[in-house]
């Protein structure tokens, strides 16, 4: 019982002790009181409830896994990323900097300068044929209105995932969903499949869609 309770004779809710017991911290000095007991019981039942949640695979999980597969996030890495910098660092530590390091760096810098001076940067032509006719930033998203935007987005995602094409999907609130993907040129079957879903694939292949529920007028 806490000091306040001993003084007043009535149970007093000590939020500090209750929260401490709920978070699983070691009890404060003194006898555990009613508030701490309540906190412990809360913790026990809340954690039991969390652990009792179902673990079966859900459609959401399957869709997320398909999206991860398509983006290449689950393809693995052949070598740890830090291998090259670590090897270079190890070499630098071993090499006597004054005798080998400084002349090597100076030579590499000199060769780099010569190469750059001999090959000045040349203008690179634009990759897209129709890009020259467009102003930068003039591109507009293609808006689709449907009763169930989530279902349409899932159908489009499935089409792209079947071809291992990366897709960016972003919920924008009020049921609005934004999708972005790059359609490879020459995939007529995919273009046709997308057209059947009401999507017009532009010639440059950059797909930018805004799927809105029917009747929604709000801008994202």
């Amino acid at each position: 019982m806490s000091q306040a309770e001993q003084n007043s004779g009535t149970p007093h809710f000590d939020a500090e002790r209750c929260l401490q017991a709920l978070s699983g911290d070691a009890p404060m000095a003194g006898q555990p009181d009613r508030s701490a007991r309540a906190g412990r019981l809360l913790r026990e039942l809340v954690l039991a409830e969390l652990q009792a949640q179902p673990v079966e695979s859900t459609p959401d999980e399957a869709a997320l896994l398909a999206r991860l597969r398509a983006s290449g996030a689950l393809a693995g890495q052949p070598e740890p990323r830090a291998a090259w910098p670590q090897a270079a660092l190890a070499w630098l530590k071993k090499a006597p900097v004054t005798w080998i390091g400084v002349p090597t760096l100076a030579t590499v810098a000199g060769v780099g300068m010569v190469v750059l001076m001999q090959a000045p940067p040349s203008p690179v032509p634009l990759a897209d044929e129709d890009a020259a006719a467009q102003m930068r930033g003039s591109e507009q998203a293609q808006r689709l209105a449907t009763a169930d935007p989530k279902a349409l987005a899932d159908a489009l995602q499935a089409q792209l995932a079947a071809r291992q094409l990366p897709l960016r999907r972003q919920p924008l609130g009020s049921g609005l969903i934004e999708l972005q993907a790059k359609i490879p040129p020459g995939d007529a079957a995919l273009v046709q499949a997308l057209e059947q879903l009401g999507v017009k694939v532009p010639a440059h292949g950059r797909l930018w869609l805004l799927i809105a529920p029917i009747g929604a007028t709000a801008k994202p």
């Binding site: 009535t10 149970p11 007093h12 809710f13 939020a15 209750c18 929260l19 709920l22 978070s23 699983g24 009613r34 508030s35 007991r37 309540a38 906190g39 019981l41 809360l42 913790r43 026990e44 039942l45 809340v46 954690l47 039991a48 409830e49 969390l50 652990q51 949640q53 673990v55 695979s57 959401d60 999980e61 869709a63 997320l64 896994l65 999206r67 991860l68 597969r69 983006s71 996030a73 689950l74 393809a75 693995g76 890495q77 740890p80 990323r81 830090a82 999907r169 972003q170 919920p171 924008l172 609130g173 969903i177 994202p220």
Partner: protein, 215 residues
């Protein structure tokens, strides 16, 4: 279920391997962190109909960005930072004030009765299946009635500190502590009927026991 108990090193190793181990590890991460993210987003004021999409987006970012994490020990903190940024972006996209404390404030419960009842219960009373079932039922009812407050209690039980909750709800440390204690008090108030019934049962049992020993 505590997020810190997630084996981040095993997850990162499996992700590096790729294929079936990576998929199994990704699935394990989703199942482990979903309740945590759900509670975190609910406390941050994200509405129910936007919750699943936002969690999916977060998990996608976490799994696809995990190879950039240098140390497994920093994985949980990194995930929390991503969540924080995603929540900030979520509100920025809506360009409006976030709806913290979206549930109507409940009147302060008079906890004296509940604490008195709890005090009179024997130590092993929580293992009584009837009482436990009743408490769990009330817990579920509270979860339905006040999802945001329940999520706050879940976060505290998972080891979240007041400082982190203050950051989530966008209030001062003191206001967050006040909110946390109100959440606990509100849930304890829901338990009162169970504890009253439990006490009545215990009294009945003890009186029956006394009657049994009488000649």
């Amino acid at each position: 279920m505590t997020p810190h108990l997630f084996d981040a090193q095993a997850f990162l190793d499996a992700l590096r391997l790729g294929g079936a181990p990576a998929e199994a590890a990704a699935l394990k991460l989703m199942r482990h962190y979903k309740p945590f993210l759900r509670a975190k987003l609910l406390v941050a004021g994200v509405s129910h109909n936007e919750l699943d999409d936002l969690i999916s987006e977060l998990l996608f970012k976490v799994i696809s960005g995990a190879p950039q994490v240098r140390s497994a020990a920093a994985f949980h903190s990194w995930l929390c930072i991503i969540t924080k940024h995603e929540v900030a972006a979520h509100w920025a996209r809506r360009s409006r004030e976030r709806a913290v404390f979206s549930e109507p404030p409940a009147p302060d419960p008079a906890l004296q009765d509940t604490l008195q009842l709890l005090d009179q219960m024997p130590d092993d009373s929580a293992s009584d299946p009837v009482l436990r079932l009743c408490l769990q039922g009330q817990l579920a009812k509270f979860r339905r009635d006040a999802a945001q407050r329940y999520a706050c209690i879940e976060l505290i039980a998972m080891g979240h500190e007041a400082r982190e909750i203050a950051e989530l709800i966008g209030r001062s440390y003191g206001a967050a502590r006040e909110y946390m204690s109100r959440c606990c008090a509100a849930l304890l108030d829901y338990w009162r009927p169970c504890l009253s019934a439990g006490q009545a049962q215990a009294l009945k049992r003890s009186s029956a026991g006394q009657a049994g020993v009488k000649p």
